[in-house]
Symmetry: C2
Subunit: 207 residues, 2 copies
């Protein structure tokens, strides 16, 4: 099986968010897909390890925001490479609130969708939720960020719990915990700044 | 609900094919999504009206080919705007055969995937199949066709039984049965040629 073949599938990049009992959280996914037209329903696959998955299970609702190409690696790093169990991902972030009280980021958001969960399927490592759209708003006409653009232009990485994760060739060096950028070299200069997301050397971990 | 918002979701364009009892057929979908990494599994949503859906139900297998930007409207029209109940869609077409005997188009194919159905979900108008990949081959490094590129550059239309179909504003004129292009005007000139897929006037129907 040639796992590189899977890079030929195309996706958008979304902030998937949910809320329960006062806790707001979100994560980055590429798996939002409209699956019926009338009424509009969508599916999303998300890792069982994610706090967002728990919040969707508990509340029965989720929100999805397709990002535009202008979305920063800082925004993607915040939702995609950190855990909501350890911090408040919405802290200090411009956000809207949907009809179900779920927060969603408004900067570099192409649209926002609020879904009610009407079905789910266990996929072992991931859960597939089926949502019926209850709210859909276009927020920007800027070009949307495709998963290809994220990898090719933004040089973004894929976290290990993503459905599209491929084990990388072994690199030696230091990896930025925010955006996944790898500095190749034994020693990371103390004044090093991540060229992708602009975080300092303290955000890097040794591979 | 702003249905235009749904255009902010990104997809590829795929030929989805299946075979049963000697009958080969395929259709165009935009809903192929990788949903787990280990093992690689994907979902696809497809209309219950499609012959391909029947063949997947009967055989338990499907094949998916992401198209490249070079794919012609003739190829897309062949699989996307005709019915396999009335004709052999593979007639005269270059094709490969996967491990389960399913034919797939090889021209302008970015990759090919063979899936074994391991689950399904009823979505009223559509069926969602969950497939475990049993074969994955990269076939081309040409850029893949996104659904956005299909609409924006190829001026392609969406058939009414697609999950992403939006009712068009009422137009008067003649619609090409192959690619959906609309000639606006009461009378279609008898020597008219579709500017998109190059079919003659006999392929147009009055709106």
């Amino acid at each position: 099986m040639d796992l590189q073949a899977f890079f030929k599938m195309s996706y958008g990049l979304y902030v998937l968010s949910a809320a329960f009992d006062g806790k707001q959280n979100g994560c980055i996914v590429n798996t939002v897909t409209q699956v019926t037209a009338e009424p509009p329903k969508a599916t999303v696959a998300v890792s069982k390890q994610n706090l967002t998955t728990e919040l969707i299970e508990q509340s029965g609702f989720f929100n999805a925001v397709p990002l535009t190409e202008k979305a920063t690696m800082d925004l993607i790093g915040r939702f995609g490479f950190r855990s909501g169990r350890e911090e408040d991902k919405f802290s200090g972030l411009e956000h809207g609130v949907d009809a179900h009280g779920v927060w969603y980021p408004t900067q570099n958001a192409a649209a926002m969708f609020s879904f009610k969960v009407i079905g789910k399927l266990d996929l072992d490592t991931h859960v597939l939720f089926v949502g019926k759209a209850v709210e859909a708003v276009k927020l920007s006409d800027d070009p949307v960020m495709t998963y290809d653009y994220y990898h090719r232009v933004k040089k973004g990485e894929t976290p290990p719990n993503a459905p599209s994760y491929k084990k990388p060739e072994q690199k030696t060096g230091w990896r930025c915990k925010i955006c996944g950028y790898v500095y190749e070299g034994e020693e990371l200069p103390p004044d090093y700044i991540c060229p992708i997301c602009k975080k300092p050397a303290s955000f890097f971990e040794k591979l």
